[in-house]
């Protein structure tokens, strides 16, 4: 009995470890886009009192 559960535990650990590796290999495109937008907001100062941005309004953020 303990043998079986030990085997299962080992399998679970191996699977979860491989799952982590698999997931992390892929570039998280959506998260990167969000991060880019946050940084662009700050660099172009689109959130707080954007004097240079006329019509679209800074609160809308997304242009499409």
């Amino acid at each position: 009995m303990p043998d079986a559960s030990r085997w299962i535990l080992a399998a679970v650990l191996a699977m979860s470890a491989s799952a982590c590796v698999t997931i992390n290999i892929y570039f998280p495109a959506a998260a990167a886009e969000k991060a880019a937008d946050r940084i662009i907001d700050e660099v172009w100062q689109l959130r707080e009192g954007a004097a240079a941005a006329p019509a679209p309004g800074p609160a809308q953020g997304e242009s499409k």
């Binding site: 079986a4 699977m15 998260a31 990167a32 886009e33 991060a35 940084i39 941005a53």
Partner: protein, 142 residues
């Protein structure tokens, strides 16, 4: 036997939890709150005051590779051209460092090119009306 199946069920639930946690993690946020990234942001934000009029005049455009480029030197008075070039060079150095730092802050230096591509697209998408952006190898005005 029933103890084994209970253990198995419990471990199955545990595995499911791990997988879900990993998925959530993958869809979460990228780490961008590091001192290096903050310093780059601040430097770029300060420089934006200098670059914004150049974007508006069409002298400088947002290139497809995530950099800024001198598009029309003629629209910059000769006396200010060296200054504009210096601002462009400094901006591109900061941007390159920013892409590299974001990839590194997330423990994936190999993501640098992907980060750059993502930024290139977002700079262009979010450029203000009147600014010039590079699309399909050509400069177009937004």
């Amino acid at each position: 036997m029933s103890l084994l199946s209970t253990t198995r069920r419990r471990l199955g639930a545990c595995l499911l939890g791990l997988v879900m946690a990993a998925v959530v993690h993958a869809q979460g946020n990228l780490e961008i709150d590091t001192p290096a990234i903050a310093a780059l942001k601040q430097s770029m934000q300060k420089r934006h005051a200098q670059l914004a009029p150049l974007y508006a005049a069409g002298a400088v455009g947002l290139a497809a590779d995530g950099t800024v480029a001198l598009r029309d030197a003629g629209s910059v008075p000769l006396a200010q051209r060296a200054q504009a070039n210096a601002a462009i060079a400094a901006e591109n150095a900061d941007r390159a460092a920013l892409y590299r730092e974001i990839a590194r802050a997330n423990d994936h230096p190999e993501w640098e090119a992907d980060v750059r591509r993502t930024f290139a697209q977002r700079w262009i998408d979010r450029a203000q009306p009147g600014w010039w952006v590079q699309q399909g190898g050509k400069w177009v005005q937004k």
